[in-house]
Subunit: 228 residues, 2 copies
DNA sequence: CGACCATTTGATATGGATCAAGCGATGTGG
DNA sequence: CCACATCGCTTGATCCATATCAAATGGTCG
């Protein structure tokens, strides 16, 4: 049986502490990839891996949240995705990470060696298929992201709120782990435009903002209409 | 051995003619997926498959070129990708196509039943891995596309030209199979902006346009500088 | 309390969209 | 073979959504 016996030594020094094994299944069944792995803790804004670094591990958010991003030569930053508890990230087919990853808030991340998973996939077709499905899910997410980026500011923000609402599975009210700047860089807007748009949505009674990080959907239909 | 013995009967009626088997390998080796399949012909602007249709086949461009796209409810169109000879498209993990696909010019496309490939992948890990790699390649492409969409008009057009140049593997001069409108919908710009930007690049001696569909890169460094 | 940081709000500027011709190639029918 | 319609592309004038620049507000922590 394949297990993680040591703390992944190549990991970022900033990682605060090893929090222990997530679970320890008796043996590796199909699809159990996500059950193995070592839980580690990353503080707010701590880098989990950097763009172009060798992709040696696979990550799953246990608690907290993660952003992946690229920075263009002139400083513009594009946030590629936000990962919430339960989400897997860092899966690459090439040998290097395409994006950088950072914890948005203090987060616990389950980590598993890529070589372990790939060895498993080479022997077990179900595992291979699972890896493929994870990649494909990511592909779908990125395709939707492209559609976001051709919309107006209002539509982007509305789509973003609906996406977050569905992902946090809180029917109406939820908390945003990320800053306005993170949202802006995800949506391809400026922080001011995001802020103004949120204010406008609040003024038109589509949403409510008890605090800057808390959102209550007041009129989901109105948001949906802004979706394209 | 698995082969295509009949014309895929579910295919679009507009498909002009079956052009014959691409190749007929003696037996299916790893990675031979792309060698099997039936060649079919699609006329200019003919739909190959539609968004949300069951994804029953896998496609490879033999000659010509293909665009995939989505149309938003208000008529805006987003072109997801252009596929040139040698490129595989239509690969989905879900059971339906995420985009529509159309031949941009008269094209010959090699088609293989998805069930055939998946059956092969279930038994042969190399085939499974190949499918995964194709999906991942697509993911990388889409990620790059996102980075395009946050750039300025000049940068988008410059990046597009460099991308096409590298893909057509013609060092400096190449032909664009797609219209200005296709390019605009790919880059998230209007046709007027694309046209103006190309004219501007020509005026600044970065490129030359012998005709509207022919491009000569005059100053690759200048284009590169516009890349971010 | 005071410093700091994130967010909001306001005033102005601008890149690209929109609206509107004009132009050149291609094809068709007389 | 030419007149004319059509289509794809270019060019020009104007407008507007969002960026940019600037300042005020509010929450958090020592």
């Amino acid at each position: 049986m394949l297990t993680q016996t040591a703390i992944p030594s190549g990991l970022k020094r900033q990682a605060i502490a090893m929090a222990g094994r997530t679970t320890a299944p008796a043996h590796a069944d199909h699809g159990s990839i996500e059950l193995m792995g070592v839980a580690m803790h990353f503080g707010r804004n701590v880098e989990i891996y950097g763009e172009n670094e060798p992709a040696e591990y696979l990550y799953k958010v246990i608690s907290g949240s993660v952003r992946t991003y690229k920075v263009l030569s002139d400083g513009r930053r594009q946030v590629g995705a936000f990962y919430l508890p339960g989400d897997v990230f860092g899966l690459e087919v090439g040998d290097r990470h395409a994006f950088s990853a950072e914890a948005i808030v203090d987060s616990t991340i389950s980590i598993i060696k890529r070589s372990t998973v790939e060895a498993l996939a080479a022997r077990d077709n179900h595992v291979a298929r699972h890896l493929w499905a994870l990649t494909a899910q990511e592909l779908k997410r990125v395709q939707d992201h492209i559609l976001l980026l051709i919309k107006t500011a209002q539509e982007r923000v509305a789509s973003f709120l609906l996406e977050m609402a569905s992902r946090t599975s809180c029917d109406k009210a939820f908390e945003l782990p990320m800053s306005r700047q993170d949202i802006a860089d995800y949506l391809g807007l400026t922080i001011e435009t995001v802020s103004r748009t949120l204010t406008h949505l609040e003024n038109t009674a589509a949403i409510e903002l008890p605090s800057s990080r808390q959102v209550v959907l007041r009129n989901r239909a109105a948001l949906g209409r802004l979706n394209g």
